[in-house]
Symmetry: D2
Subunit: 352 residues, 4 copies
């Protein structure tokens, strides 16, 4: 941590600040610049709050962080080694991580009825997906929109899992539903709107199921990793980071801006596996294939893609859902790129 | 709702779409343009989802909303009349609304100990504040930062209320804490990070205490009003909208960009009372006074200002807290402007 | 400037970097932290480019700036004293600056014809404006929109000036037009879209007329001041900074977000006078009055307001223009606030 | 164009508005909704300004555009066929467009001296680049930073062209330099900061060299295409659109957010060729390869990549420049993906 003092700070104030910081167990080192004095702080500063330091004196101009504020999520925490998140499913372990084939999670936005979820599960499995997504509890902008079928949808997800052996990913919006969701889900999803619902983060951190943490709409990468840190610090090491598009100034053609640069950025600062969701990231089915291709080429560990047997009848997010046929074709295209990068499962899954 | 068809849509597809929409109870009216055909939809469209319509046909280019999606929050819902939120406190009813004096809510970010909260409460009361703010449960970016004293802080808020007669505003982060918070709080705050925690919104909507709904960091005004709509639709009509700064591209000098234009904008579309929080809105105590002045001049119904007896020792948000002395001086300046606009309580409160 | 080295940087590399920086005339001071080493640089670092330093070694993690990159625009450059920009006009000198009455610049977006510009000039003068704005050359998003009457409009501005004695503010879009514009204009406006048209900035910096520099739509405050620095460094000390709204994620109700916090922020870092343009800042006439009030309450030195005798017939920007009557009423409201703050000219101008 | 009237608009006002619009040569069609009346406008509305219509009556709530405002840039203008931009170079024609191999433009940010530019040109040619980029006139945030070697750099570019046969891409910042730049350059670049420098756009539109139009930092896609429309409308049909990262709320790890979704979006609305610049788009050399891979996988027609023989000594943008060696390796990786997509030139270029 570097403390920058304002021009003209009295010498005694600099001494006082240094002494106060020494009292916190830090070793202050003063550098006298041409115009300004800065104080370097040596010690355990990673989890210190710069704001807190700033308030020691009105003469402090700014406090610059040298260490990243996240610790368990940092690449250094694992000495530069990426971590793996292993998800047991009836069909066997699915492994998310840098040295493994790209894992594709697919399925509808919402679970609508038994037939549709089982049909979709079968089709996405055939096309090569390893996990089924499907919302039982849905965060919707409007209270008048369909809110998900809730508990009964969980039963349908269980049925789809039994029918196909696919693992299940579904969203937790309310800690009160956590236990019953965890009975069915193999991965618990925290949605973008709840990325900083810290109560919920602590609770999913205190249970063993892997957590898929979506990036908040306007979350910085540091904030996102700090949200992951809440889960890690609570004891659950199995966190997957999912980019799903950020809010920007132009939503005429796309719902969000899919920030694919998180792939190399996260790779350079965290060990956690990375997932990209081009369906929410663009909001339009016709833009999903090229963004999915881009994500694989850029090195993602995983993709989440919305698939609906009949998008025009979907109760939510129809415009961004692929048909099973379009998904199957996309998977074949992805396989070509994935294989050239040695990131695709072989032998090939049987296609539709 | 206006449905815009793509160039070249076959006539029979336009007929099919019109018939399908007629089946939804809407009356479609076709306009044949030079290049495109559009279909106007007459009927109860306010709560329809445009995405849902879009999926009727791949020939639909876009669906334009004519009605606002919020209903109970809309100005039309009260026939153009602003609403009042009346908050009973030991010192009497405090009324938030357009025809009333500006209500000032002040206090520390977090409740730290009995002495500090009671001292602060007394000082902000003397300076003219009507309600005391103070966090018991604190949303913090880092799991390693101070998380609030929780339940014991609620007792201290109760003590401060008893000592001063001020009403209490405090944040609810977790529905599990709602009952015990509601025993002490006169207004329940939903923080920016939970603005779209729909489970929580429904729960505060099903209880009677007024709710202060902070705008999410990147929430559009429509999304904010839809969040209010969740509370209103659940049965609680007492919602106050609080702007606290939005996320923008430059955070070198301010933490957020305080969007004061929400004052005239909200006035033109909703009946709900408006509050401005210049403390979070700027993140620096030195910028708070001019933004508070601006808010009153622009016509806010209420202000929320962080005050701490010793900002440099604050456990959270010190840099943006005013001292009681600075707050008292600000209140005197605000009174001058507030009185010229006929929005300030007279006789004057006794100042420090 | 603070150079942060990556974890694990070899000792010899730190020495090499330090020696290289010493070769640049800087004095490096090494601080050995718990995990990282940082090098503080003492010397003339304000105009150094951090990127340039970063490239000395792949072991450099980041370079943190301690000094601001602007110099002539900084408050320190004038030892904490705000500057004044004096604009001679036929009616006498108009002074922009902190210790002076708020200067109001008003007029139409575009100069349309002789009658309208002279009528508008008379009316805004009567209401208290000191300078007339009016576009001869107009930056328009579409090549098919009205582009301004150009040279002939300059003659009309000259006529309006002669008729009223008001000084004239008009925009320069092309350096080729600079001379002929400077014959008529008393202040040269650089529009938001040209804020980083560095060729143009250098050219207006090499002539003597004062320059009104609008903030770019997504310019950071530092970038804005660096644009001013181009003008100042070229020799022209008379720069006025005009905030006109920034681009954000929600443009459903307002065209831009008017960032009023620039008022206290700029006051704390630069000596240059500040202007606020609530017309472009909101894009809607009905929101202009409350934002103008807010700007005065927050301490602006100046306002720019669009006024058109018949907004519904305006060739550009009609929706954000006030009628002369509405402008006159607004001026009376502003006077009340301005006088309580001792920032309004007395005796009062005669009103319509 | 759809005109939405406010709730409660008097019948005679609706009639008056309709008549006025009929007077503009449009055919108004009224739809009476449950709460509101809307007027559909039939006729030549693509180049009409919605703001202009709005001002016909204060009873107009909003004006919704149905047609896109760009015409020559639209995909419909070429009946759905992508266009080709053919650039003659000493080595032969280079073709930018959807059905052609990905064109790679590479070279240093600035031309520094003869040796470096010729060396770089040779190396990027060997690795497969078809055009050389290099700045003679540089837009820099600070007036104190290196501004480019100007005219003498143009001579060096000519020498590099002669030495290698590569075509040259360089930026025009000032129309006054246009003629001498056009003598050397095969493609004229308009930088992000000048994307809405309409004077300059008109001037490059009136000369025959192809124009590479970079997207402004916060330009919407529509604004970007309208800027292209300025060039097209002035007579020059050879425009290439280059995405180089947009401004967002998090610049801790990347300088900009590279918006790769423009690839499918532009493909669906314009016929113009697309280029991606991952160097400016991320600002860090280590993130360039994965973003270049992503761009090719997503279907870009072209890439622009900064290459410098010695990035640590670069006079500008060193941190985002690849070494020739790293560029050559990247080209080999890109070739693998490009060939699977049938978008790479064969036979393979000879590699370093």
């Amino acid at each position: 941590m570097i403390v920058v003092m304002k021009v003209g700070t009295p010498e005694e104030e600099i001494t006082r600040v240094s002494e106060e910081l020494a009292g916190w167990g830090l070793t202050p080192e003063k550098i006298v610049g041409k115009h300004k004095v800065v104080i370097g702080l040596v010690g355990e500063t990673a989890t210190l709050n710069p704001e807190h330091i700033q308030e020691i004196s009105p003469w402090i101009e700014s406090v610059l962080r040298v260490e990243k504020p996240f610790k368990r999520a940092s690449l250094e925490f694992r000495h530069g080694q990426p971590s793996e998140v292993v998800v047991p499913t009836p069909n066997g372990d699915v492994v998310f991580g840098m040295g493994h084939p790209v894992v594709v999670v697919a399925g509808p936005c919402s679970v609508e009825n038994e037939e549709m979820i089982i049909e979709t599960a079968k089709k996405v499995k055939q096309a090569g997906a390893k996990l089924l997504r499907g919302g039982a509890y849905k965060p919707r902008t409007s209270p008048y929109s369909f809110q998900g079928h809730g508990e009964s949808a969980l039963e349908l997800l269980a049925a789809a899992k039994e029918a196909t052996g696919l693992g299940v990913v579904t969203e937790v919006m309310d800690a009160a539903d956590l236990d019953k969701i965890a009975e069915v889900a193999d991965i618990l999803q925290i949605g973008a709107r709840n990325m900083q619902n810290f109560s919920l983060l602590k609770k999913v951190g205190r249970q063993p199921k892997p957590v898929l943490l979506k990036r908040g709409m306007s979350a910085t990468i540091t904030e996102w990793l700090m949200a992951a840190e809440y889960i890690l610090a609570a004891g659950n090491p199995n966190v997957i980071l999912c980019e799903r598009g950020i809010r920007a100034f132009d939503s005429e053609y796309v719902r969000n801006v899919l920030d694919l640069s998180v792939i190399p950025v996260l790779r350079s600062i965290t060990h956690l596996p990375i997932m990209i969701d081009p369906s929410h990231g663009t909001g339009k089915a016709e833009f999903v294939p090229s963004m999915a291709m881009a994500a694989v080429a850029a090195g993602t560990d995983s993709l989440m893609i919305e698939v609906h047997p009949n998008p025009s009848k979907a109760l939510s997010d129809g415009p961004q859902s692929l048909t099973p046929q379009a998904f199957s074709e996309l998977m074949q295209q992805l396989a070509v790129i994935g294989k050239t990068l040695n990131r695709w499962e072989t032998p090939q899954p049987a296609y539709l």
